[in-house]
């Protein structure tokens, strides 16, 4: 039984760590880029979103070159007699790289919708930049931030290609659910594959339900204009009904 459950625990650990990392990095990058006006804006913006467009195997291969024995990061880590290739942290790194663009894009969109005058009002009332962020910008952009978090959570749960390239398939160590399903089918272990499939299905469904629930304005924020634009990504190609 433990053998069956191992991929679930590894995936949950990986997904939670990844979501925490992308949540913080995504918000930081989104806030930086939503006010950065330099010439490099399109370049930086593109670099942040690139992993979303590239095939996962390409990203995985790139990370492998970077972190392998002869890569910059690999050489740096070797100084401390450590390596990330084919280890559990590798699953977190790949999942974070792959899910970061979703958090970044959605959050940035939500930040850009926040009326600059309202943030400025907080500044004239003596608020520090940090207080402006957590007491004004984040609460006002909250529906978008939640949507970005759940999208990146879902993306890291489903991460397969890049993870396989960098973390490999070491049962009990780096084998996440998607990787385990793939190898279970290859080995003809249909029982394990179906078992894991049902688990993934439940998690995915629960996270979408959570999104629908969290997107609804809470009673405390009743009457606040619902910031619908950032979640448009969920409705791509479909006509979105009027928010609120």
């Amino acid at each position: 039984m433990n053998e069956y459950l191992a991929p679930l625990w590894i995936s949950l650990k990986t997904v939670l760590a990844t979501t925490a990392i992308t949540f913080i990095l995504g918000i930081a990058a989104a806030r930086w880029m939503s006010r950065y006006t330099g010439k490099l804006k399109p370049v930086i913006d593109g670099a942040f979103i690139l992993p979303l467009v590239l095939p996962p195997t390409v990203v995985g291969f790139g990370l492998l070159l970077l972190m392998g024995k002869h890569g910059w990061i690999g050489k740096f880590l070797a100084l401390f007699h450590t390596t990330v290739v084919f280890s559990w942290p590798a699953t977190v790194i790949t999942a974070a790289v792959m899910s970061f663009p979703l958090m970044y894009m959605t959050t940035r969109g939500a930040f850009e919708q926040v009326d600059k005058n309202i943030e400025d009002a907080a500044r004239t009332l003596g608020a520090s930049e940090w207080r402006v962020l957590y007491s004004v910008t984040l609460p006002m952009a909250w529906p978008g931030v939640v949507a970005g978090t759940i999208l990146s959570f879902a993306r890291s749960l489903g991460e397969f290609g890049a993870t396989l390239m960098l973390a490999g398939n070491i049962p009990g160590k780096t084998t996440t659910i998607p990787v385990a399903i793939y190898f279970a089918i290859q080995d003809g272990d249909m029982k394990q594959a179906v078992y894991l499939m049902v688990i993934v299905f439940c998690i995915a469904f629960a996270s979408l339900a959570a999104l629908a629930y969290l997107k609804k304005p809470k009673p405390r924020t009743r009457g606040v204009p619902v910031n619908a634009a950032p979640t448009d990504i969920l409705y791509a190609g479909r006509k979105k009904d009027n928010p609120s």
């Binding site: 009326d115 005058n117 500044r123 606040v224």
Partner: protein, 359 residues
């Protein structure tokens, strides 16, 4: 005491202003896009001018020559935005409390309560901005700006989004503010009447510069130039030349109409022979039956009925092609003195209301 000197290049013009406010209400009057709001944002530290100097009481907020630029949060400046910019996710009470720092919970709620009462917001403390009328939102915005006890209050077109009745009530409230707020106030507006009612001095802006900054009565009595005269409501503008200056009067020769006299004010820097424009507000133009001093002859060409009076347009006699038009407002109670359309009458321009504007 606030001292301001600002320079900033903008797309179409550059802002270049200098003025000071000393415990009073200064009205900044000007058309949209003349740099009024920009001035407020510079004082509040939200926009950085190319160069400038701002001193508020004994603190220097900005001094570009000494690389001093206090951030907004350290300036202690209250700003009420044109769209109020209330925090939509906080209640009216929480909005007002936002800027009160370093106080105990009890002191904060006391201060909020005081402001709620003074701004007439009783019972609305728990409402979210969305649940308030725009007049109430504006009062919350003013209370929020006053809560940290700012040394200056900046109001950016505070009444532009309100209906006239609400506007009237809120103007009274701003006037009443003076009873408990002794700091400086700057009011930005494009409405002369509003600026006149609420402020003691008025600075007239045009394309990024101040064309006149004076006591409000003086601004109306002696506009510095034609633009100010037009903004302050002078219509009947006639071109002429000064032909005599006495201690009390100035005589101006207007071609074809004759000589008109205006009362001379001490501050005027007028010289004989100067070409000037004279103007008079429509309310002071009088219809009389006989010719006399400062009287011109013309025919009534048009009558427009307004709420509180009739606006009469007179065509003045002229031998050549120049057509002069005079515009008079006759109150409803004087309806019987309005002649029939097309008839000729004498029109008196009282010397005490004739204003001489240099070019």
């Amino acid at each position: 005491m606030l001292k301001v000197e600002l320079k900033r290049k903008l797309l179409d013009f550059s802002l270049n202003v200098a003025f000071s406010v000393d415990g009073e209400t200064l009205g900044i009057l000007g058309p949209s896009g003349s740099g009024k709001t920009m001035t407020l944002l510079c004082i509040a530290g939200l926009i950085r001018p190319d160069s400038g100097f701002i001193q508020l009481n004994d603190r220097v907020l900005l001094d570009s020559s000494h690389k001093v630029n206090l951030p907004s949060k350290a300036r202690n400046v209250g700003l009420v935005f044109q769209n109020y910019a209330l925090f939509p996710h906080l209640t009216a009470g929480e909005n007002i409390a936002y800027g009160i720092r370093n106080r105990s919970r009890q002191e904060v709620s006391q201060r909020v309560q005081v402001l709620i009462e003074k701004m007439g917001l009783d019972g609305l403390q728990q409402r979210y901005p969305r649940e308030l009328s725009s007049g109430q939102q504006q009062r919350v915005a003013v209370a929020r700006a006053l809560a940290p006890e700012p040394e200056i209050l900046l109001l950016d077109e505070p009444f532009s989004a309100l209906d006239s009745l609400t506007k009237e009530q809120l103007e009274m409230q701003i006037l009443d503010l003076r009873q408990f707020y002794k700091g400086n106030i700057i009011l930005v507006t494009h409405d002369l009447a509003e600026a006149y009612r609420l402020s003691s001095r008025i600075a007239v802006y045009e394309s990024g510069g101040i064309i006149q900054c004076d006591n409000k009565a003086k601004l109306i009595a002696s506009p510095a130039n034609l633009t100010v005269a037009k903004i302050t409501g002078f219509r009947n503008l006639l071109l002429g030349t000064i032909n005599e200056i006495t201690d009390s009067h100035i005589s101006i020769l207007v071609p074809e109409l004759g000589t008109l006299k205006a009362v001379r004010y001490k501050h005027s820097r007028l010289l004989s022979g100067m070409s000037v424009t004279i103007g008079i507000s429509p309310e002071y133009v009088k219809i009389t039956n006989h010719p006399g001093e400062n009287t011109v002859y013309g025919s009534l060409s048009r009558i427009v009925e307004e709420i509180r009076g009739y606006r009469c347009f007179f065509q003045l006699n002229s031998a050549q092609n120049t057509v002069y038009q005079l515009d008079a407002v006759i109150s409803k109670s004087d309806k019987n003195i309005i002649p029939t359309l097309g008839s000729k009458v004498h029109i008196h321009l009282p010397p005490e209301y004739l204003v001489v504007i240099t070019h």
